[in-house]
């Protein structure tokens, strides 16, 4: 794959009508729609053929795609101008959620604003990579240590606020988004290695002082699921059985026994991947991974063709963060990673994170379709 922006030949760099008028990227849109369709198919089975639930999810998808379409119309320069405001609002909202947030499931994640709830950590998923990208783009690259430390500050504050809600999954995603922007900007290897070395005592401290019991429990259970086969380990054991029993081609759509007989926990949301694996087997898994990889690859391609550093960093960060999404979820469901509450992007049932996700792809599309063509 060539990532050269200097390619001025007609063809790939010519805007198509879809790109010019709707500011949508055809390939990316196609993959996203394909993933959504796959997701609806799996959910129909996971819900025991209740179409009403699938319908709700379709409406959420429509809203999410609409938000993508809206954001795609906003030129990157405008996004860049909004960045400090968005980051500031997000930060304030995160502080607010800790004070006046709505509790649910042992965590405080939402603010009640009349007709609906706002989840400030979702704003940060977009605002943080925008802020880090904007900051780095205004500095010479690769970033020097003071700038790196400034970026770490930009990242650490919201991530810390999200982690104490507690919402480990989102905190990881937000931190990853910021880190990827730094990484793409050319973060020196020695900083990386230094950071990794510093992370060890940091992790130890986090283990003893920064984690809730249930989080520690998840990590321990991850390390040894049989530790508590009927408690916390049950989910992982049952989801591994679901995946493994799918075999090469699966038990067939609507025929997953693990999922339909309630052995699988959270089968509509965080563990929906197990349903897919059980019913469509390794073949279905490979299809899903291929589609996901295609999304990342297209995003990177767009980043590579972007025309300024802000756009490149932001597009690259969004694309790589998407990888974290599915890597963490699939890794968790297949017992490779500890159980972290992250949905499977575009497949899991639920709305909020999907709107944010597609808003991010809206930014990618905006970046790609607002290029100035040399020829014009």
């Amino acid at each position: 794959m060539r990532l050269g922006a200097s390619d001025t030949r007609a063809g790939s760099n010519q805007l198509t009508p879809l790109q010019r008028m709707l500011h949508l990227d055809g390939p990316l849109l196609t993959i996203l729609v394909a993933l959504s369709a796959l997701g609806l198919t799996v959910l129909y089975s996971a819900f025991g053929q209740q179409f009403s639930e699938v319908e709700k999810q379709m409406i959420r998808l429509l809203i999410a795609f609409a938000s993508m379409l809206v954001i795609a119309q906003v030129p990157p320069a405008t996004l860049r101008r909004w960045t400090p405001w968005l980051y500031g609002i997000g930060l304030l909202a995160l502080i607010a959620v800790l004070m006046i947030g709505v509790s649910g499931g042992g965590a405080r994640r939402w603010i009640d604003v009349g007709p609906f709830n706002i989840q400030p950590s979702e704003i940060m998923k977009i605002a943080l990579p925008m802020a880090v990208s904007a900051y780095l783009a205004s500095q010479p690259l690769p970033p020097r240590l003071p700038h790196v430390l400034a970026c770490i500050g930009l990242i650490a504050v919201p991530v810390g606020l999200i982690a104490v809600q507690p919402d480990l999954g989102t905190a990881i995603l937000v931190a990853a988004a910021g880190f990827f922007a730094l990484f793409i900007a050319g973060l020196k290897w020695r900083y990386l290695v230094g950071g990794a070395v510093a992370a060890v005592p940091g992790a130890v401290t986090l283990w003893f002082y920064g984690m809730h019991d249930y989080q520690r429990d998840r990590v321990l259970t991850f390390l040894n699921p049989e530790r508590d086969p009927l408690g916390a380990g049950y989910h992982i054991i049952q989801s591994k059985i679901a995946i493994g029993s799918g075999g090469l081609f699966g038990k067939g759509w609507l025929n997953g026994t693990q999922s339909h007989l309630d052995f699988l926990p959270e089968r509509h949301t965080d563990f929906v991947f197990a349903v897919l694996s059980e019913e469509f087997g390794f073949a279905g898994v490979c299809l899903l991974l291929a589609l996901y990889f295609a999304v990342v690859a297209r995003g990177i391609w767009i980043a590579g063709h972007a025309q300024d550093n802000y756009a490149r960093l932001l597009a690259g960060s969004i694309s790589l963060t998407f990888f974290v999404y599915f890597f963490v979820n699939i890794g968790m469901v297949s017992g490779l990673l500890p159980v972290v509450g992250l949905p499977l992007p575009l497949i899991s049932y639920g709305g909020t994170s999907m709107v944010t996700l597609l808003a991010g792809f809206g930014i990618l599309m905006s970046i790609h379709t607002h290029r100035r063509m040399w020829s014009s």
Partner: protein
Amino acid sequence: MSGDRLKDSAGDGRVIRWRLLMGLVGVLALTGVLGGRLAWLQVIGYQHYSTLSQNNRVRLVAIPPTRGLIYDRNGVLLAENVPAHRLVITPEQVDDMDQTLKRLSKIVDLRPTDLERFHDLLRQQRRFQEIPLKLQLTEREVARLAVNRHRFPGVEVKSHLIRRYPLGSEAVHAIGYVGRINERELRQVDASEYQGSSHIGKTGIERYYEKALHGHVGVKRVETNARGRVVRTLDRTPPVPGKDIYLTLDMRLQQAAEKALGDNSGAIVAIDPRNGEVLAMVSKPAFDPNLFVNGISLEDYRALQTGKDNPLFNRVTRGQYPPGSTVKPFYGLAGLELGIRKADDVIDCHGSYSIPGVDHRWRDWKRWGHGPVKLKQAIAQSCDVYFYGLAYKMGINAMHDFMTPFGFGRRTGVDLPGELTGVMPSKAWKRRERGKPWYNGETVIAGIGQGFTTATPLQLAYATALMADDGKKIAPHLRRMTRAPGADRPQLDPPAIPKKDDAIKLKHPEHWDEIHKAMQAVIYSPKGTARALNDSAYRVAGKTGTAQVFGLGSNETYKADEVPKELRDHALFVAFAPADNPRIAVSVVVEHGGSSHTAVPIAGKVMDAWLLKYGGQDATGGK
């Protein structure tokens, strides 16, 4: 966009694109790791996880077979399976349990104990499991619930089959009953066959033929969800119902016999001497077996067990009575056959007997004696002195050896559980059982069926049947026919006669006739002890007996009227008829009946019922 920014970008662009490429390679690598992990689970681990998945979801559920029915020889239903209804509640389908119970109590009679048990189970069981609220609903309650069904989500009426004995206490000791299976019984049977069954035969035919009646358990494979609730049935192997059993009993005869015995405690057995079929079998007092089916209350059970007359006790197979004078025809036969006395030898009976060297006089029941008697008179008038001397001459071991083939002292092998042997004493027996030597005096009283000798009513009937048919061996039995599930008609299914039980062969077969004549004289001679039957429409042969409940001193006289009922002698009578072509052999024991005169007419009524009414011309064929 300003130009310098573009210039900047161009310089930084290379670094960024290089990093983007690295990122993409990293993503590819890690996605590959995911793919590898999934291949590990789905391709390499498939067998393992597939098995786990199957074990997760599939459970085996036993389907109990339907128990075989029991009929009498004419197809009268003796044990059946009837639907019973119980009220069950599935908690997870009930919104407001208190309200539901309150409203239910207006329709169904709910006792505090029902509610107590229900609340106990409600705490213990899982939410989706049915909890029985009331076990036996009346028809009226079932109807009311059906009408109000829509008002009670989660409340159901469930039906199952329970055993019922339509004739209640009639022939209860033969049929037996089923009850809830217990731990000990479960260890004795193939537990897998009983996975779905709650009941097992406890006594009688129900127990003896448990295996045939029970049938084979079926199984269905069901899919269950994570909470253990059955979602659907995958496949099923249907159970094989138990076999229906047709007894040899004729319930009309049985009822006649029970009526004849009346309120007396005692036993009656009627056997067809030609084939061993037990035609009637009465043990009194009796009880209602239906009490046991769904668990008898403790008070009821105590009352039955400790009752003075012990209704649960099967006197026919387990009541060991001194046979008294009913043994005399057999010893008379022994005397002839062993060449000790001829039929015409005359013994002078003066009312007592003594043996040399022993300072004891054994008295005849007739104080002044019978005078000179031959064998025939001795049996007809039941002269004790004749048999005292005969026994003394034979010796106990010879008596034992002669009597054993007639079934004394050993089980008849009838198809009922728990049959006892009675006692046919011998010197070896006494040494073994009592650790003492045999005394000659004990031989003397054995000659009139007293002392150590005991026999069950069934043994007496069996011996009488052997006597009636000149020693032709039979196996007494209650199961006449069996019908396999699905078969149209029942098949004859009598037991095989044990090899060791060859026919009793006499050196002089004419001796049979000699004794038969003597037994007829019991009824037809002027001084016969069973003259009450001498106007029967057929010719009867028989022998009376009394079994002493307590001993009398040698100078005391026994007067039934002066003795309290529980100390009175048992009255016995054995008979067969018609004498020249016997179709029925009967034994009657009337506990504390006083004199044998109480037993004689009872046997007469039984033989009348069979020979004149129910037995037909050929009593083998009920049909």
